[in-house]
Symmetry: D2
Subunit: 400 residues, 4 copies
């Protein structure tokens, strides 16, 4: 047992921290400004940051294997945490932003040669963005077997009909390709009914209706969260990812690394919140003493530190398990980090907001927007409660 | 001891409930639509609702004494709860919306004959709106003695310099009058330094800079929350409310009824959240059964009911105390409802959101916006923590 | 709506408070000493207190109707709170102690003339004590239909077989009569299978095996919590309370007032805890200042006050509902106080303990023992969770 | 970074688990029985277990260096967790029980040759027990500078006067030696005033007055928690441990490993609680289905698992830090585990109790007693709140 990072990780952490200090954090105010101006889509300065990141060897760090940087989950996790300190800017600057990351993994693992050439290549190069269309407004999508969108084969084509929402990134015009999950065979066994197909942006019948807001935020800077209607959308059968009936399995495979990334970024957000909370508490005075000397604020700071330390270790161990025994062997831990991280980070952000007074809920500090992100991760990939039930069931099974 | 409402209250509750069912709730979708279209300011359909409310004798219910409906706090409280079920529409429709309510109380109690004629009259008639400018970005404003805006007498005028923010309603062009708190005498005893003056909207030197967002919401429909800079703003000395040095006392007097209103509206919001949570839980099915049969969801519903019942009684008792022994005698209870209500209602809204899945955080349900309102009330009038310290101090004092 | 106590209540409160100050609190140290010496059963000084209480007209206050003081639930509730400040002494001194109170109610309402003469009379006179034997070790007794003890008619007798535990008061030799619940007809509809019979202490076949401990406490001073085995115990058919099959209904009727009593006593315990917490916090100094100046301790004190005020109002309203619309009409509220009071008071006691340091968990302060009492009320009458499910179901039913 | 135990640890874990299964758990019922019979002191069967543990090479595992098994903190930690599954039996059986462990560390590190011969030797051999007398009833002892017991040199002797309480193990007649902390120089700098001296059991003037109870438990099986009065107690100057004024430093050195041990045992207790909770939930049926199918119970089980995984990792990392960078370098983490572990394990035990119904609070399951142990660790070594303040201060200091 050894709690030190290996030397490659340390080297990359140093390099990434320098990139954050020299390029990312200084760009944040201009980024905010450009976001206010630029409608749906990524503000222009991001392209400069991407060039810089590529130059510095900080590109596609998330992707294991030959297509990417080849890091293990355990090596990448602490880098994701660092990116989380500027979650709207650092991941996209390094081509490590969701949902592209998961989509690239899917194409890398399950895509055909042609699909990789056509879509994975430009994604890896940061030339286009992508979306992942699974959640539906009309059913509780945490139960993937509820998914109702139909994908029917008709000759050499699949015909897609259905309605999706909260499809992140879709409002961004550079989002060129959608991975769409639907049912190809409603009569098959429960977990063999679903398939995934690639749908290019301008395919007739695909209507991007509107952006869904998340606590008042439209998240326009990374393409928002769209509602999309599929009306007799036709794609060639070559656009099927993997095999018919393989959709559920692909979705599962996509989840593991995504959880690590989300959770480590959340931890980075929490670290930033603690820093802001401390700085503000030291800078402001009420009733004759700095807020930092209020016992309740000290309690929040201590609790935040204690929770962060625990969360980080659990996520790192989960990454290590995925590397050593695979996603199946890390099943409990992958659920455990989903259950524990968003809600704890939400709590920390709430306290940081409270220390900032009215400013905390406003656009003048990143806290409220980070909070909305953390809060929605208690729902993304299914509400925490679904995962708790499943985890409890495995715990109970040992004694049945 | 008697827990039944008196007959006047019951009569008004019935009348208001009918107004909600027949006019307010049906207007909500169109209101949402108009809000999206209409920039800063109240959507047009509100004027129709105001006419209707006036016709039905549901006007200025909040205001005791001759200027208003003459209800006691205990009689008005349950009406405020009902309005809280549609908090963006019902209060403004009945001319019972903050911050006008508090401002009208101030003018009614402390305003000169001229001030009442000039400003109270059109406010009571629902012709104009008003704002209350106290909170400042540069100091922790929960400690009112921190307020730094200066109000300096110069001949027959007061000259105001300072910066305020989160001035609700100010972006609304019909908001014609601002009550501004500042320091007239920094050398006076701590609670005699402040004064309040009336500043009409177009006074030179008053710059309304921007709207502050609250968790991504701009609250444009009721005029947002503005940052305002006062640069050598001059008003006649007749615009002083009450006497020089009386600002702190007026601010305190303004607080009590405002808390009752806020808290009862929050309880109305909580009731709406429980209803939505129940309906959604019954309507959606996961893993083979309605969400309503999930034990954790049942636990949330039960907890919500139990908390609401307790909160309501505490607020009603506080209203009764204010009516019978005055604000001073109700001091502990006024703090207690501020401490307990927003955080409990926030919790209930959070659970209702969770039951709604991704929809819960979006614009398709009122829950996320209500949540942002409840959350910011943990900060408005000073963070809860300040009030807890003060309440604890009085508790401890009994044993000193 | 009126939050003031009526004049009779105020008069009795004054009288009871004087009794507490002049007699009960001063007797506490000697009581503790006698408890340590006297094995199972009530320490001798209690008889003196009983005489005094009777003299002062503070006797059987809990019992409505002609047999007792004739108070309403709303009138008695604030008296129960006062007794709760010394929960091991004041209730027994005033003949208002559980489980006698519930048993007297049962006999008063459902007992035959003969049963009242034989058992209610000496109970009302404080000559004997009684027990209520329902909970069983072998089944989850929160579901009363699980009760397995059999009561079989055999000629003019009932024959009882079964095992009960946590039968409070049973180890006390002056506990002369047991109300035993069991099944007379396992074939009847679910809620008509149970009956209650009276079993005198020395009936052959009734074996009082041992005292169950509650977090290390044996509660010897009020007769502990016994495990009892019934082996072919025979009682005359005249010992049946009410009718065969009526046991479930009697149990339900017994619950309502008992909840009010328990909850108000808990609130009295909480008030005592707050007082002790304040006094200790003022008296002890760490790191250069009194503990009372620690922000976290102030937060606990404020939270305690705020919670107590809410709980008390809810219990009082429940009492008022029981008086005005009956137990059925107060069903939700009776569950609500069971759900909310023990856990909140447990929290307050926990904080008071924490302020007392190691002393808080010891016999030198009443806090740890009070805590154990509050904690076990989260289980008594069925775990809170069962009541939450039932309350949620009624809430949901409105929308089905 | 590597989350696997090393091979020595794995070997010892296997050996210890076998010892638990073959010897410790089977002895628990007889141990309980002997505890009920045997007054203050360790029940006889423990000696047999000690012999067996020695034979199996499971002896003094806690002690690093030549005097003990020579394990690192990281190697010992998982063994302490296993012992925690039977915390009243396994630690004492393996001579790894507090407070002997800390006392042996102190003697091993700071004791003179003579002191080691006289006291460390028989402690290592399990022939005698020891106590650590620091906490005082009259001052808030979490602030060690409050300690008031005086140790005054008089010729070749030290004269001790003062009062201590909660001196664990002291009622056990085999507890032969006491390490007593007091002030030798009240004029010295704050952290140089204290010294530690060895006081043998039968030294004249040392009065062991009574056992303090912990939530009703006397913990007689390991010698209880005594109140002790020192009245002109005289010991030779050779009984001083280390140097005069070194007491505070020794106390600090003693804390680190003790925290690891306590926390890992708590985690073992939590694991046992989860197992009992699962087994009970599967075995009991209410309202037609096993309790294990209640959503709220599943939620508790999942939360318990998630919390345990996080706690364990944090404690293990702390052990690793102590091994690699020393106690000072692990300061934040040592506080973090003290803050997080007892309260989380208390929560888990509370839920396990709730699942057990009335049985859970009684002597028929180990849960209530384990709960009392966990609860008191929120106070032992100073209340959590003191440690949180200190941890927050270090966090804030980075930004000062």
């Amino acid at each position: 047992m050894d709690f030190a990072f290996d030397s490659l990780t340390e080297e990359l952490r140093g390099r990434l921290l320098r990139f954050m200090d020299e390029c990312v954090h200084p760009a944040e105010p201009a980024f905010e400004e450009q976001v206010r101006m630029s409608g749906w889509g990524v503000p222009p300065l991001v392209e400069d940051l991407k060039d810089e990141a590529r130059k510095r060897g900080l590109w596609n760090l998330f992707l294991p294997g030959d297509h990417g940087a080849g890091l293990t989950n355990l090596q990448y996790a602490p880098l994701a945490e660092i990116m989380g300190r500027s979650p709207h800017l650092a991941p996209v600057a390094t081509n490590c932003a969701a949902p592209d990351t998961g989509n690239m993994e899917v194409l890398s693992m399950f895509g055909s040669e042609w699909q990789r050439q056509e879509w994975l290549r430009p994604l890896l190069d940061g030339e286009i963005r992508s979306a992942f269309a699974m959640t539906e407004p009309d059913v509780a999508s945490s139960d993937a077997t509820n998914i109702a969108t139909s994908i029917v084969r008709d000759g050499d084509e699949y015909v897609i009909n259905g309605r999706k929402w909260f499809i992140s990134g879709a409002m961004n015009p550079t989002c060129k390709i959608f991975i769409v999950m639907g049912k190809t065979d409603p009569e098959a066994p429960k977990h063999r009914q679903q398939s995934m197909v690639l749908v290019p942006r301008d395919t007739p019948g695909m209507h991007i209706k509107r952006g869904m807001s998340v606590f008042g935020y439209d998240d326009a800077d990374h393409g928002g969260h769209a509602e999309i209607v599929f009306e007799d959308v036709r794609v060639p059968v070559d656009n099927l990812i993997g095999e018919e009936g393989g959709g559920f399995a692909i979705a599962q495979a996509r989840l593991g690394p995504g959880r690590i990334h989300h959770c480590m970024r959340l931890i980075g957000m929490a670290e930033r919140a603690v820093e802001l909370m401390c700085r503000r508490a030291l800078a402001r005075t009420t009733f004759g003493k700095p807020i930092a000397r209020q016992g309740v604020v000290q309690d929040w700071i201590a609790e935040s530190r204690v929770r962060i330390e625990q969360l980080r270790l659990l996520v790192l161990k989960t990454a290590w398990l995925m590397d050593t025994v695979g996603n199946q062997g890390a099943h409990t831990e992958i659920q455990a980090i989903k259950i524990s991280t968003p809600i704890a980070v939400e709590w920390i952000l709430d306290k940081a907001i409270q220390v900032h007074g009215a400013g905390g809920v406003s656009q003048d500090f990143p806290l409220a927007a980070l909070w909305a992100g953390a809060r929605s991760l208690r729902l993304a990939d299914g509400p925490d409660e679904v995962h708790k039930r499943s985890l409890a069931y495995r715990e109970l099974k040992q004694y049945m």
